[in-house]
Assembly symmetry: C2
Homo-oligomer: 160 residues x 2
Amino acid sequence: MIREANEGDWDEIFPFFRAIVDAGETYAYPSGLEKDEARELWMERPPALTVVAQLDSDVVGSAKMGPNHPGRGSHVATASFMVSPQHQSQGVGMALGKFMIAWARESGYHSVQFNAVVETNSGAVHLWESLGFVVLATVPQAFDHAKYGLVGLHVMYLPL
Amino acid sequence: MIREANEGDWDEIFPFFRAIVDAGETYAYPSGLEKDEARELWMERPPALTVVAQLDSDVVGSAKMGPNHPGRGSHVATASFMVSPQHQSQGVGMALGKFMIAWARESGYHSVQFNAVVETNSGAVHLWESLGFVVLATVPQAFDHAKYGLVGLHVMYLPL
């Protein structure tokens, strides 16, 4: 089940947010963020939105979505996704992705752009391609991967 | 002359910042920003930097530069540039661009990425190409141009 996040959800999101950022394989957030600092980066306010994926009573994933740029770029949406490491490869990312696309379409966005999908994160790349995204470009060596060193960041795009 | 901006420079930058944003042809900032709100968006703190181009005693242009992403993306620089409409096509953008590239190289960045160069802003596109940038991709219809409607945004890239 995907639903809008509330303030109380942050206690469940933060542990996997922290684990995913600290693993250094998928996100260019600062490492070692405190719980309050990370909340500011993840928990959005309108017109943007943060949602959670709930499985039974547990929060197992989260996504945030909103305009990629303000003003004259605000008709293009962007989004970010995190799934708890214990619940990956179980369709949670797919459910969050489909929710985001439906939300962007209903909200009147013209397209969705991802600015920085790590090229070695093949699970994510394949997921987005399966939902219709294309890789517009790969910025060479733009991400310092904890295992592989400098790898590319895909700019991905879906017209709506 | 290019020099680091100080707080007092904002009084001279803001009028052309406002004019350029309100013209709606080159920047996806919110329109109608108040002077204090716009200052927060333009006047950077370390490790980022804001500079001005000074001609005689007048501030005729400004640029800001810094990491494109935090954390594991912070070895890629990005930058933004504004030249007073009365002083365009006089080499001010070129001087600011060359300063930025030298600064990025000296600061140890691996490359420079521009995320959103309006494709119809041919003066800017040609300037960056003359300094070695390439267009990696064009995000279709990502900018709502005041005159031309929806036009593309170039992602441009320079290895250092």
